[in-house]
């Protein structure tokens, strides 16, 4: 009986190996799952799409900003992180952090 079970396991393994050999895509999927075991059940589903739809959201709370300005008149306001990715909570956003209108006179390199 032991040998029969052993044979069956061997068969299953070789089928999996076959899949990996014939499908590079499945091999890549296995690689990804190994690196990120908690990757969502529905890839390309709602979470991913919703992230795509909300691209570019930055938060500026004028109440926070004004209260902080009033409180910390003499102290330096904590500045934004240089990469300016998330402007929320911890640090007080300032008008300098937000995207400014660029001067329109900058010529395109193609026109040069």
């Amino acid at each position: 009986i032991n040998s029969e079970i052993h044979d069956f396991c061997h068969l299953k393994e070789s089928k999996e190996m076959e899949d990996k050999v014939t499908s590079p895509e499945k091999a890549e999927e296995a690689k990804l799952k190994a690196r990120y075991p908690h990757l969502g059940q529905k890839p390309g589903g709602s979470d991913f799409l919703r992230k795509r739809l909300q691209k570019g959201q930055k938060y500026f709370d004028s109440g926070d900003y004004n209260m902080a300005k009033a409180k910390m008149k003499n102290k330096q306001l904590p500045a934004a992180a240089p990469d300016k990715t998330e402007v929320t909570g911890d640090h007080i956003p300032t008008p300098q952090d937000l995207p400014q209108r660029k001067p329109s006179l900058v010529a395109s390199k193609l026109a040069g």
Binding site: S23, P24, E25, K26, A27, E28, E29, K31, L32, K33, R35, L39, P43, G44, G45, S46, L49, R50, R52, L53, K55, G56, Q57, K58, Y59, F60, L98, P99, Q100, R101, K102, S104, V106, A107, S108, K109, L110, A111
Partner: protein
């Protein structure tokens, strides 16, 4: 800010417009044939450059609105001026580009430099005359079509009636009249009542080149829907549904992502359309919804790299594709500044590179080859050496001649067929 984000020839091919990430539009014009300078025929030089869109911040929604030009579409020329539509994520603008080569001189009430003349010094009336001046090309915004899109605009398409155009975002398609900016009709709405149920988004949309009632839109799930505006005001129900059946046993985590269509283009004849997904270009006969008539592999060797392409986000890159004027050839971009051209008649394809290091001006381009196996031949490049930051997403083909424009990050290359 100089990264080119769209390239488009006008209907005659004499003008080539590019839009960039900084909201600027640069228009090139083809030089006229000149017997004394035979090499300059067909060269494109800068004709006009202007700032189309500025960055904005929507304080109400806490949204940064990029000034990047997503698409430019030319209007057919009706008079001496040229018109084009340019759009960023939220606002579409109609620009008029006109030439001025004369100016009036001899006004009565002001001097040549514009200063007002003292009325008491004017003793005689004169008629202003037109004098030639150096050519000046002016761009002015004629219409601004704003506030019609909650989500990011990915496509605009001018209708064959030359009066209307569509704009599409992730979930909706709107129909505009070129003269009317305060009203827009919603013709497709795929937003579910409950956003949790969202499964697909609109990725591209285009009007049929000849039938003004027909439009198509592609989705992130690899499908294309054809809608007929005659059937109902709201085209939520498609007239045709194009989808290639998938082999369920080959399905993987990446299947849906790489099937997402990044571009859809009708052929000039209107009989075919092509779709670009991550690894291939598919040509569809509009009369057959069940499967494409041709599938062209762009860079199949990337299938074994999907894991890292997912990690560096390249798997989400949106490549465009284009037809030549005769619909006999197709071009699309790839990585490492490579672009691919397919001849539908001879079934031959070629990989070329747009880079200054590897080619000299006016020299023929050398075909490139990517090697997938172990043994790399001389002049071949291995998949692992490809530079995935050098992506060619935007290409355009002259409507009549064999002239192509290829945007490689912040450089524009224009290639022509060698004429002997």
């Amino acid at each position: 800010a100089d990264i080119i984000s769209t390239v488009e020839f006008n209907y005659s091919g004499d003008l080539l417009a590019t839009g960039d990430k900084g909201g600027r539009v640069v228009i090139f014009q083809r030089e006229q044939e000149n017997k004394s300078r035979p090499h300059s025929r067909g060269e494109y030089n800068v004709y006009s450059t202007f700032q189309s869109h500025e960055p904005e911040f929507d304080y109400l929604k806490s949204l940064e609105i990029e000034e990047k030009i997503n698409k430019i579409r030319w209007l057919p020329q009706q008079n001496a001026a040229h018109f084009l539509l340019s759009t960023n994520d939220k606002t579409i603008k109609l620009w008029k580009i006109s030439e001025r080569d004369k100016r009036a001189e001899g006004y009565n009430l002001k001097d040549e430099d514009g200063r007002l003349r003292d009325p008491f010094r004017i003793t005689a009336l004169r008629v202003p005359i037109l004098k030639p001046m150096d050519l000046m090309v002016e761009a002015s915004p004629r219409r601004i079509f704003a506030n019609a899109h909650t989500y990011h605009i990915n496509s605009i398409s001018v209708n064959s009636d030359h009066e209307t155009y569509l704009s599409a975002d992730d979930l909706r398609i709107n129909l505009w009249h070129l003269e009317i900016t305060d009203r827009s009709f919603n013709i497709v709405d795929i937003k579910p009542a409950n956003m949790e149920e969202l499964t697909e988004v609109i990725t591209a949309a285009e009007f049929h080149p000849l039938q003004c009632n027909v439009l198509v839109y592609s989705s992130s799930k690899g499908t294309v829907r054809l809608c007929d505006m005659r059937s109902s005001a709201l085209c939520d129900r498609h007239s045709k549904f194009f989808e290639e059946p998938e082999d369920p046993s080959s399905r993987s985590f990446f299947s849906e992502i790489i099937s997402s269509i990044s571009d859809v283009k009708f052929s000039h004849s209107g009989r075919y359309m092509m779709t670009r997904d991550y690894l291939s270009v598919k040509v569809w006969d509009l009369n057959m919804e069940t499967r494409p008539v041709e599938t062209l592999q762009v860079h199949e060797y990337l299938r074994g790299k999907l894991c890292s392409l997912y990690e560096n986000d390249c798997i989400f890159d949106k490549f465009e594709c284009c037809w030549n004027g005769a619909d006999s050839a197709i071009m699309t971009g790839s990585y490492n500044n490579f672009f691919r051209m397919f001849d539908r008649n001879t079934q031959r394809d070629v990989t070329l590179e747009a880079s200054r290091e590897n080619s000299k001006p006016r020299a023929s381009l050398k075909p490139r080859k990517v090697c997938t196996g172990g043994k790399r031949k001389k002049d071949e490049i291995s998949v692992d050496s490809l530079d995935f930051n050098k992506k060619i997403l935007h290409t355009a083909w002259h409507p009549v001649e064999n002239i192509i424009a290829v945007a490689a990050t912040n450089n524009l290359y224009i290639f022509q067929d060698k004429v002997n």
